[in-house]
Amino acid sequence: MTAASIGLNSQDCDSRNPGCYCRIPATAYRWDAAAIARAQLLSPGDRHDVILRQADIISTVEFNHTGELLATGDKGGRVVIFQREPECKNEPCRQGEYNVYSTFQSHEPEFDYLKSLEIEEKINKIKWLPQQNAAHALLSTNDKTIKLWKISERDKRPEGYNLKDEEGKLKDLSTVTSLQVPVLKPMDLMVEVSPRRIFSNGHTYHVNSISVNSDCETYMSADDLRINLWHLAITDRSFNIVDIKPANMEDLTEVITAAEFHPYHCNLFVYSSSKGSLRLCDMRASALCDKHCKLYEEPEDPSNRSFFSEIISSVSDVKFSHSGRYMLTRDYLTVKVWDLNMETKPIETYQVHDYLRSKLCSLYENDCIFDKFECAWNGSDSVIMTGAYNNFFRMFDRNTKRDVTLEASRESSKPRAVLKPRRVCVGGKRRKDDISVDSLDFTKKILHTAWHPTENIIAIAATNNLYIFQDKVNSDMH
């Protein structure tokens, strides 16, 4: 499969209001039913009339390790978990549909009275823990506080307690004349979400990344200037493993922008910086990893030098490949693949939207230049994906070097519709359906994307909408 040939089927879910998180039977063969079901979800009037609420903007998307669950976090502090419909032989088309599984409020707005600062409830990152038992667990974080949530199912309830009645009230002991063994009776499936741990007071600055270690016991959290290492069971202490805060804040010129553990070497982690570099650290070297063991940095191209060179070279996301051999980084205009064994330059560089290079001043003026786009690997590390403006997202096939621009929009992605590649025209030759650089909508940006760990299913967060696309070829084979 090549990136350019990915025919994607769509399914989109409205996360505009928590009441909308219902099961949406949006399949091709049931297209009418789907339309009705979704129409009912909406308040009267066209859905486009509904004013976009800030709180509904999706701020992170993450598949779990099997891909069965997909979690999204939003600016309102909510976490919505989608579950993939189990495979069904009668209705093969339904396979791959993600429906709302559970919704809960993860973080609430807070106020730091000492610093007189509001702490937003916005969910910055979600990470799933490897599944240890029937229950699932995830970490969610806002700017300051990380929380561990347990998500478990219950489809049976015990009945026939000796000392409690149906409502759970204690029985009058005098009425208990005989003893019985309580029995479990089936009941409607209930998803329970409960907070298990709250890791607070670990960060002075804004947490931008969390990453669970392959030892399954620890995780790290990175803010602008520090990285802390936590044990999943211990909330009252963490170890500071990186600290780049200068003694004098006036000397501050660089911040940490993202950090991640190596997928299977539990001692290795990488963090990216606002100056465009990556630092690989080995926790075996010392307790405080202030000295990196490898520094990945590409010399600046003097021909592209401008006032904004540093800003656009700031790394907004870093992801290890599943194999652990490569790292994927995103800066403002490009995605780069780095080989862990080569520090001097990336092995591959892909232009995401090079036509914006001549617009940098305007993008600086309207603050778009500070947007933090994320990037993702596919299951086999052969295709990479990242977001762009105008609800576009880009895919690059590393083997064929082909790339494609796709659009996540209601108009173009009716359920089961095949996405058409889009093209941004630069210069004179404008083909039909091309969109010119000047008419791109910079308010519609795709910052957060996720790729199913093994299959060709992707999740795209476009402001307050979540789009799930599936590789058509793949799904037809089922």
């Binding site: 937003e120 004098n248 006032f307 003026e365 909508d441 910079f442």
Partner: protein, 276 residues
């Protein structure tokens, strides 16, 4: 043009800024010094509005501050190059290079007009003042470092403005400069030197008529050399590099004379402008 559909505050200064940034993006031949001035203005604008943000963002602030630092470093290097040029120990063709495209400066407006324009692009609130008010947490100290740098810039500012052409600062112009300073206080004052030095070739590619079509431009062609109206740094004009070069090596008294005439001409121009 780029900002189509963008949420934008609808005040005049922002709009003007947008025009400029679009001009920056579209007009690749905009003089470097003016590009730099434009970026610097935007940086300071952003730092000023920093504390109004609901979500203070260290990452963003650091990037903006680094951009300011970069521009500042450039300016500092240029200003340190200039005294050598002044000494006359560098060939005259080198003299043409003063870092800010002197070739273009022959076609220019008096600095009074330049600063007028720049001032219009700024919000009425004084950026420096408001930056001073930031509370004393760590974040603000990062910003205050920028402030300190700004102060430094202010200290060295007369050097590029005056030293570029004359050995000794001409008094009449100096006083004119001070008046200018009183007009634009705070950051604008600190960066008054930037405006003087780096916006010299401001209108290189934009025709004067387009921008100031209400100004009678006929006078530019007539009796006096336009370049003589420039601040001293702006004088290196193509038409008279020789004259200029001689001026550099001349005694201060003759410089004074030149500048007095400049000032008179300036008064004259301002009269005309105000009249129109």
């Amino acid at each position: 043009m780029l900002g189509k559909g963008l949420k934008r505050k609808l005040n005049d200064c922002e709009e003007t800024m947008t025009e400029f940034s679009c001009a920056y993006d579209c007009n690749r031949t905009m003089p470097y010094s003016h590009q730099r001035q434009l970026v610097l203005n935007m940086c300071l604008n952003k730092l000023q509005s920093y504390k109004m943000l609901a979500e203070p963002n260290l990452h963003r602030s650091v990037l903006i501050a680094n951009t300011v630092r970069q521009i500042q470093e450039e300016t500092r290097q240029e200003s340190s190059q200039l005294p050598g040029v002044m000494g006359g120990d560098i060939p005259s063709n080198n003299f043409i290079y003063t870092g800010s495209d002197p070739i273009d400066s022959s076609l220019n407006l008096p600095f009074g007009i330049n600063t007028e324009i720049t001032r219009d692009t700024w919000p009425s609130e004084n950026p420096l003042d408001s930056l001073m008010e930031v509370t004393d947490d760590d974040m603000s100290s990062a910003i205050s470092s920028i402030l300190k740098d700004l102060d430094f810039v202010e200290d060295i500012s007369p050097t590029p403005a005056q030293g570029s052409v004359m050995d000794e600062p001409p008094k009449p112009l100096e006083s004119g400069y001070k008046v200018e300073k009183q007009d634009v206080r705070g950051t604008e004052c600190a960066f008054g030197s930037f405006e003087l030095t780096s916006s010299t070739s401001y209108l290189k590619d934009l025709s004067v008529d387009d921008i100031f079509d209400d100004i009678d431009t006929s006078m530019y062609d007539s009796d006096f050399s336009f370049s003589s109206l420039m601040s001293p740094r702006m004088q290196p004009a193509v038409e008279e590099p020789l004259k200029l070069y001689t001026m550099c090596n001349n005694s201060a008294s003759s410089n004074l004379q030149v500048c007095r005439t400049d000032l008179n001409d300036l008064d004259h121009i301002i009269e005309i402008l105000v009249g129109s």
